[in-house]
């Protein structure tokens, strides 16, 4: 790194400019990552937090994928699922979006209907016909409700049994209610219209706890459902699939742009230095030595630029971004993109300094240079 460090200092302006570009792209990637994570959490945390490993939907029409928006399962289906060998638990879960009101405050919420005493809800044991468990955000959104307070869910009076968890679904906080309460607030068609012996007892999906031995596909065929893993079911949340897809696309483009910019910079830099490299080779510097020097220089620039950008993103997230913006700052959302930036940048730099190998030391002789 003898020459590399001195070049960094000597061509300060150029390297500072490049470092600033890396810093800004990293800042953008960092903010976007934290925002994606924050938005995703608002969208899916109620599902990812469910104590279940698979979700059974009503079988969608041919050529369509399951959706939380238009699935309806019957009591007969979840009873049959409970009897499938290898399934340890099958819990109905009703999901609908509605409005909660307390005093003069009202807020959009997701009502999650569960059986009384269900493990799906936090404090599920406290849920019965006239009570509900509110997620922290739901309680706060209704003016800071506490256990014992009352509120109205789509016109139905309920008592707060507990405030627990931070479940959120499709950007609205979750209120856990009894299945019967859910059925009365869900739009007709989603609940209570199933014909036959199970009329009146329906839910949106069935949360399953399975063991490796369960033949899920066979059970799906017999029962008329479509079962996916819990993580796989996230794409069945309409807003999540499109939102997350476009955010990830932007992030991917930023990564690619950064690698290209770094690659272009070091390509130009290496071409400019070709004469010096020929001289160094003629003087006896090995290609490995020169490559190490050049890559070390690129790595130093990348690490400094990326850490600066990440630091600024974290500081902005912690100090400037208002609480209302969903912004999730965790080591994973901030450091992982930084690591990717460094890796891809190093790849771009490696591809461009590779041309060091092809510089012919012979060109240092004579006046041609």
């Amino acid at each position: 790194m003898f020459v590399a460090w001195r070049d960094l200092r000597f061509a300060k302006g150029r390297f500072a400019l490049m470092g600033a570009v890396i810093t800004l792209i990293t800042l953008l990637v960092g903010l976007l990552s934290a925002l994606s994570a924050g938005l995703a959490r608002q969208n899916i945390s109620a599902i990812t937090g469910l104590p279940a490993d698979r979700i059974a939907f009503a079988a969608p029409g041919p050529g369509r994928s399951p959706s939380y928006g238009d699935s309806t399962v019957t009591a007969r289906q979840w009873r049959r699922w409970a009897e499938v060998p290898g399934v340890t638990r099958a819990e109905p879960l009703g999901i609908t979006s509605t409005k909660a009101t307390a005093g003069d405050r009202s807020a959009p919420v997701s009502a999650f209907g569960v059986r009384a005493g269900s493990r799906l809800a936090p404090d599920g044991g406290a849920i019965h016909d006239r009570t509900a468990v509110l997620s922290a955000a739901a309680a706060a959104g209704l003016g800071g409700l506490a256990p014992g307070d009352t509120f109205a869910l789509a016109g139905r009076r309920l008592t707060v049994a507990a405030v627990a968890g931070d479940a959120s679904f499709s950007h609205t906080p979750v209120i856990w209610t009894a299945l019967s309460t859910w059925a009365s607030v869900a739009p007709p068609g989603a609940a209570g219209t199933a014909a036959g012996p199970d009329a009146g007892a329906t839910a949106t999906v069935i949360a399953l706890d399975t063991t490796a031995g369960a033949d899920v596909a066979a059970a799906d065929r017999a029962i008329g459902t479509r079962t996916v893993t819990k993580d796989g079911s996230l794409s069945a949340i309409g807003s999540y699939a499109s939102e997350n897809g476009s955010l990830q696309l932007m992030r991917g483009f930023l990564f690619a742009i950064s690698a290209l910019v770094v690659g272009a910079f070091f390509t130009v830099w290496t071409i400019q230095r070709a004469g010096d490299i020929a001289v160094l080779k003629a003087l006896g510097a090995s290609t490995a030595h020169l490559l190490k020097d050049a890559l070390g220089q690129a790595a130093a620039l990348l690490v400094v630029g990326t850490l600066l950008g990440t630091g600024i993103a974290a500081a902005l997230g912690a100090l400037v971004v208002p609480d209302t913006v969903p912004f999730l700052l965790t080591p994973a959302t901030v450091l992982a993109p930084a690591a990717v930036m460094i890796l891809l940048g190093a790849l771009g730099a490696a591809l461009s300094v590779r041309r060091i190998t092809s510089v012919d030391p012979l060109t240092a002789l004579g006046s041609a240079r």
Binding site: F2, R6, K281, G284, S286, G366, S367
Partner: protein, 245 residues
């Protein structure tokens, strides 16, 4: 015994044909002596130097440096040989813009895997030997052309080479400075015992040489009256007239 070229032939691709740059050249340069190479432009002087510097492999013949036969060595082995036993002074100083005069010399230790700090003493000593002790902290753009060329000479001597190859070191300098640089190279050849090959256009620089060889169209010959020393050497006007700067 330091540089031995024996029956060396070098060709370059030239369309469908090949151009013969060196034609059965044999040259022996003992340590502590200076051999000057003269000849018209395009005659093969730089090619001779390139072969001696192991920068090109000849088509035929053998090159041996300090007793090591270079033909057949791998690229990495050649690089190591250049690093440790061959010093090269280029036509242009070819200094690195970001390094001070002192660092240009310390760099030679660095590329040899030694500590630049540990090489500081020798670097300062060499800078003093070329009369630049008080310019150690200057970068190339803060030095004159002649000073730069002297840094280049000191750099070539940094790793104690046994072979010193110098390609037209004075072409960028005026006559007086050029003469001073050639004097310096002559002195260092004696002091440090290098086998030195000096390519030059300027015949007035040849006086100090122990031997002068003339390259013409890839063939090597002592000047007509030459007997291995510069004594009695007479420039050939017909040859000098075709030379370019």
């Amino acid at each position: 015994m330091s540089l031995d070229l024996s029956d060396v032939t070098l060709t370059y691709p030239d369309g469908d044909d090949r151009l013969t740059a060196l034609d059965h050249v044999t040259l022996h340069v003992p340590r502590g002596t200076l051999t000057a190479v003269a000849g018209p432009s395009g005659s093969g002087k730089s090619s001779l130097l390139a072969v001696a510097a192991t920068l090109v492999t000849p088509d035929a013949g053998t090159v041996s440096v300090d007793g090591v036969t270079t033909t057949g060595l791998s690229r990495a082995e050649l690089t190591g040989l250049r690093r440790r036993t061959i010093g090269i002074v280029f036509q242009q100083p070819h200094l690195l813009p970001s390094l001070t005069a002192l660092e240009q010399l310390q760099l030679m230790a660095s590329i040899d895997g030694r500590s630049p700090a540990g090489a500081r003493g020798r670097a300062l000593e060499l800078l003093a030997a070329v009369g630049l002790a008080d310019r150690a902290g200057r970068r190339p753009h803060q030095l004159s052309g002649g000073q730069r060329q002297r840094v280049g000479i000191a750099r070539a001597l940094m790793n104690e080479p046994t072979l010193l190859l110098v390609d037209e070191p004075t072409s960028a300098l005026d006559h007086e400075r050029g003469a001073a640089v050639v004097d310096l190279i002559t002195r260092l050849t004696r002091e440090r015992g290098t086998a030195t090959v000096l390519v030059t256009h300027d015949r007035t620089h040849l006086r100090a040489a122990d031997r002068i060889v003339e390259v013409d169209d890839g063939r090597l010959g002592d000047p007509p009256s030459g007997s291995g020393t510069s004594v009695g050497y007479r420039p050939q006007g017909g040859v000098t007239a075709t030379m370019s700067g």
